[in-house]
Symmetry: D2
Subunit: 100 residues, 4 copies
């Protein structure tokens, strides 16, 4: 609450850059997996890479969700508008994440 608007904005920009870098890496993992399947590498080694990629994706999801709670949900509650809907929407996203 003590941070200025510009500090918060640059925090959001930094977080966006980090998320893009992580998604770029995940895209690279998807390409790496295609090469592994193409060259018929050992199934278990491919599966290990799939698990690593799934974990990387989950980390991105958890960061996005934390950002969402810290910004959108927090502002909706502070403003007193739309708070119920925002919380319900966040809970639904968490459920999809836990079950996926």
């Amino acid at each position: 609450m003590t941070e200025t608007t510009s500090t918060r904005t640059s925090g959001v920009v930094a977080s966006k850059e980090r998320t893009l870098a992580r998604l770029k890496r995940i895209e690279g993992q998807a390409r790496g997996l295609q090469r592994m399947v193409e060259s018929e590498q050992y199934c278990i080694d491919i599966l290990t890479q799939v698990s690593a990629m799934t974990s990387a994706l989950e980390s991105v999801a958890l960061t996005l969700l934390d950002d969402h709670l810290q910004h959108c949900v927090r502002e909706a509650i502070a403003d007193g508008t739309d708070a119920d809907a925002k919380i319900a929407e966040a809970s639904a996203a968490i459920a999809r994440l836990v079950r996926s």
Copy 2:
């Protein structure tokens, strides 16, 4: 926001009763699984029951988390005290849930 304190309180009580009923049922599933293992039922049938029990537990977790966002996190943000800590704590709980 238009609900009175007493409506909200009875909502919390109803939710607590529902959670207790679901945990009681989950405890019954744990006992049922012991009987299945004891009488050496078919592994795949036991595994099906374990999956059902895991899903039931996840549903309880998602309900508890939604209640937590709707009450504790919302109040911390509305009060302007402790909001950062409460959101960080909720995000950590979500991460444990997604990874468990």
Copy 3:
């Protein structure tokens, strides 16, 4: 393949006892959770326990699945009867587990 039938049987018995002990502990966790909800302990502490219980259940499932592959699926394949059906059934159980 070199182990005698009696070694294998006592392995199965030991594994059964371990699984029963773990399910008994999980049943205790379900009861502990009811006490936590009943006495209105802090939601995040309850969620931490739910995550611990989910992990414990997953460990039991993975042990049961490993036993199933080592015994039922292996025997079906070695006998040459029913191997396709057994493998399909194991894969379906793995899918339920991954998605639950």
Copy 4:
């Protein structure tokens, strides 16, 4: 067991093509996510896409695992060589998948 070697081989090739097509689509999802983050689309919509991508990855993993059981593990058991090691390795891969 009644299928000829050539039927089985063409099954493996078809399965390889399908897996490559699915990984290509997943790579496209990773690129789509970058565009969504780049153009600052709504966090919840991004999260929905992340969940869809995680589910698609899990499906690929389950198909690879089923193939592995049907071919590598099955052959190891039928040959009577290396069966223990192959089953232990498959169980470890399943555990990584369930926990990721």
